[in-house]
Subunit: 156 residues, 2 copies
């Protein structure tokens, strides 16, 4: 497993569709819950969100479905930070289950830090969150398995 493991879940029976495997959208839900777990790790947890009215919005999500997941599986999700700017996180998630050595699914996410006022407004990360993100970012170039690169163009 590459990256930091952040989330683990058994497969709920209501996530299985008429094809007798995990419905595509519930891979997304697992990646979404893994994003929540990442937020807890970098200081964007519930207490932060309540105190600051800031949170993350997902701008873009690109998923590859590589293996079927069954209702008897337990899946684990790891995350790598591919890039950040003042307000955004570009992250890659890999989902594993015990039956395969390679990921059953990969996701790329572009996440935006937002202040939820009357209108939601992009806002820079506070220094402690930027620092936590900096520690997670790899020094060199990273390879994204199974996915084409979504670019984080600088506009900060």
């Amino acid at each position: 497993m590459s990256g930091m493991s952040v989330f683990r879940t058994p497969i709920a029976s209501e996530w299985i569709d008429y094809n007798q495997h995990l419905r595509d959208a519930y891979y997304s839900l697992i990646f979404s819950l893994a994003t929540d777990a990442l937020m807890d790790r970098i200081g964007l947890d519930e207490a932060y969100r309540t105190r600051t009215r800031c949170t993350l919005y997902t701008l873009e999500m690109h998923i590859h479905f590589l293996h079927e997941v069954k209702d008897t599986d337990v899946v684990e999700v790891s995350v790598r930070i591919l890039g950040t700017d003042r307000k955004r996180i570009h992250a890659a998630f890999d989902m594993y289950c015990g039956r395969y050595p390679d990921p059953v699914s990969t996701a790329e996410m572009m996440l935006l830090h937002v202040y939820q006022g009357t209108e939601p407004k992009a806002q820079a990360f506070p220094p402690e969150v930027a620092e936590a993100l900096g520690k997670m970012e790899p020094a060199g170039a990273t390879e994204i398995p199974g996915s084409r690169r979504m670019e984080l163009r600088s506009r900060s």
Copy 2:
């Protein structure tokens, strides 16, 4: 609205997250249910699936989140067939709600026709499905709003 409207749903309260808007993964679920509706339109309905043991698997899904959706919204999804080969469909979905003239979200999907034997195996569409798909495919080039193109490289 561009494309053919295939699916409409109110927003279920359990799809709303701690940000008080539709969780990213439930945009995926709505696009997934719209794919089921598309399958009904092109002859890949439940009767077909039971008779032939063939179905569609999602290979790839790329979503852009353009506007927040709230629990009071009703959303409608339209679909355009961007390309097909003997076994695959490349489709673009646009999600609308009454509060915005432009889509609240767009999704691209790459779908594979699969025979569910002991092991799932890609299989060519039957002629009547290929014909139904052909009728939906636009004659000229199509523009994909808000999304970079995922390419359907010919390997059929």
